[in-house]
């Protein structure tokens, strides 16, 4: 990803905010609510379901826990956990959701699985199957129940019944929202990153699918190896600063590193949201929290990744957002 500067930088809490933008893409999205007899089992199922779902590049889907839901917010009045899922195609979305629901939620004691997306009138025909596929596990003993035009399945399991929605609505979401924190040392940048992620987790409709919400291995599209669709974002690798400079002087086409001399660490926060407003809110909250974190002057700059505006139709300009 490139980071073209458009205008002069802004400053916030002593941290430079680049005049650039994050480039994001349309994705297929849905929200699921997992309930259980207690928080332990709801969280166990949710954690399992969102495992290995950091990036569509190799996982096929991006998923993470959105937040804990109180009994008032769940269809069956038990405590629950909502998870968001983002995929590039409806086929991949369905494949991933069905297998994860079957292996991670159906298997987890006392759980039930419901849609977390509000139904439209008339009912959207963009659906992701859950019970529609999982019901066959009931081997003919499953029971279908329609409540207010919404079909549920009761599948007999060894602790009683697994209850789930027949299918859930699929909506248009946005993936690839991002910003990159640049600084002098790992502790300062990681501390600021954590503060940012904590603030962003409070925003509804947004997930940060990477471990702890942060990635140190941001990627660019393509590689010198034909089989790889993505490879390390060498522009932000501090260890390559020198070589990029040398290659550049020698007339190579590789541009010089966007990292400045005192910027030796870069961490990227990648996030997906259900709406552009969700992305903006999360971005604002994250950048604000990072800049106001007590980083001891270690956090120097915040920028964002993009492809020059050629790939994604959603451009979130840092200066507009903050």
């Amino acid at each position: 990803m490139n980071s073209p500067k458009l205008n002069s930088p802004k400053h916030r809490g002593g941290v430079e905010i680049d005049s650039t933008f994050a480039e994001a893409f349309d994705m297929k999205a849905t929200r699921l609510i997992i309930t259980a007899n207690d928080r332990t089992w709801a969280m166990a199922a949710a954690t399992s379901m969102v495992g290995f779902a950091t990036s569509v590049i190799a996982c096929g889907i991006e998923m993470a826990i959105e937040r804990v839901r109180t009994p008032d917010e769940t269809p069956d009045g038990r405590l629950g956990v909502s998870v968001l899922a983002f995929a590039v195609s409806k086929t991949e979305m369905e494949k991933q959701i069905v297998s994860r629901a079957g292996q991670c939620v159906l298997t987890c004691p006392t759980t039930a699985l419901y849609s977390g997306i509000e139904e439209t009138k008339p009912k959207s025909d963009k659906r992701v199957a859950i019970g529609k596929s999982l019901r066959y596990f009931g081997d003919g003993h499953q029971i279908s129940k329609v409540i207010d035009s919404r079909r549920f399945w009761r599948i007999p399991v060894m602790d009683g019944e697994f209850v789930c929605d027949h299918d859930v609505p699929r909506v248009d979401g946005i993936g690839g929202g991002n910003f990159i924190l640049l600084g002098k040392d790992v502790d300062a940048v990681l501390g600021a990153s954590r503060a940012a992620v904590d603030a962003m987790r409070k925003v509804e409709g947004v997930i940060m699918p990477f471990p702890g919400g942060v990635t140190r291995s941001g990627s660019k599209i393509g590689s010198k190896y034909a089989k790889l669709v993505a490879s390390t974002n060498d522009a932000y690798c501090p260890s390559l600063r020198g070589s990029r400079l040398r290659e550049s002087r020698s007339g190579d086409s590789m541009p010089p590193s966007p990292l400045q001399l005192d910027e030796s660490v870069a961490m990227e926060i990648v996030f997906d949201g259900l709406t552009p407003a969700n992305i903006r809110s999360a971005m604002r909250a994250g950048i604000d929290a990072a800049c106001h974190f007590d980083h001891g002057g270690g956090l120097l700059r915040i920028t964002a990744g993009n492809y020059g505006g050629k790939l994604g139709r959603h451009h979130f300009h840092l200066h507009e957002v903050v």
């Binding site: 006392t110 029971i143 329609v146 409540i147 009683g160």
Partner: protein, 276 residues
């Protein structure tokens, strides 16, 4: 959709009414496109004669869209709400036989009791109710839910014999007692009963209990808190539904027994009642 209120005229003595009215012509889907004059001219079959609606009812436009309200004791009116498919059908009083028969959608609220064959199949039809919801504040007669295929029947009172007979699917809740031959030849579907029924050991499994989140789901998704608010003109005494909620709360706590059957027809229906 226009809404209408049809009030049974007070100046007609019960002795002057025919013994039996066929109320199939009273349909929200048809009336919503008619004028008051056209509705008054609709003819009902009464015994072997025809009678105009205007001679029986006072017709007035309702402030509630997509709602047809019938006011009065309609015990002699059969097939009320027959084939109802969308919107709300409200009866403030009793209704006769085959009420809600072959209903396929919408809601049917009865602030009274019903005759036999509520939501059942009639004539040569193979299936009865196939969608929607019927709520009865009073009690229901024989064969309620006969050949029911989908939908919900929720009764605050009791039911007599052959409840859910030949049922194919759907849910019936009877908050109080039921008569004999409950679930006779039922294939699928759920009967939620306020009291234990006499079930043949040859036709139904021994009672068991199991944990499920389903009744919690039902308790919340039926939105009881909205029920009374939706009918401000009906007094809470008339549209009494508290026993329904109480039963569901007991089931949601997992204090129930369940039998499956009817094995005589290889059925997998379920009959559920609260533990003593």
């Amino acid at each position: 959709m226009n809404g209408w209120t049809l009030e049974l005229r007070h100046d007609i003595a019960a002795s002057e009414l025919a013994a039996c009215f066929d109320a199939r012509a009273i349909k929200l889907s048809a009336f919503s496109k008619m004028t008051e004059r056209e509705i008054n001219a609709v003819e009902l079959t009464a015994d072997s004669k025809s009678i105009r609606m205007g001679e029986l009812f006072t017709v007035s436009k309702s402030v509630d869209d997509s709602t047809l309200r019938l006011v009065g004791d309609l015990s002699r009116f059969h097939y009320v709400g027959c084939g109802h498919e969308v919107g709300q059908f409200v009866v403030e009083g009793n209704v006769g036989h085959y009420a809600g028969s072959r209903m396929s959608g919408g809601e049917f609220w009865i602030a009274g009791s019903t005759g036999n064959f509520l939501a059942a199949a009639h004539g040569t039809h193979r299936t009865g109710m196939s969608g929607g919801r019927i709520v009865v504040a009073g009690s229901v007669g024989h064969h309620a839910g006969h050949r029911m295929r989908r939908g919900e029947i929720i009764v605050n009172g009791s039911a007599t014999d052959f409840l859910g007979s030949h049922m194919i699917a759907g849910t019936i809740l009877i908050a109080e007692r039921v008569g004999e031959s409950v679930g006779f030849a039922m294939r699928r579907g759920s009967l939620l009963l306020g009291k234990r029924a006499n079930l043949s050991e040859n036709r139904f499994s021994a009672p068991v209990c199991f944990p499920t989140a389903f009744f919690l789901l039902l308790l919340k998704q039926w939105h009881f808190e909205d029920w009374q608010n939706r009918f401000p003109r009906i007094s809470s005494d008339q549209m009494e539904t508290s026993k329904i909620k109480s039963l569901l709360e007991i089931l949601a706590e997992g204090r129930f027994s369940s039998s499956r059957g009817d094995f005589a027809v290889a059925g997998q229906g379920e009959i559920i009642w609260p533990d003593d």
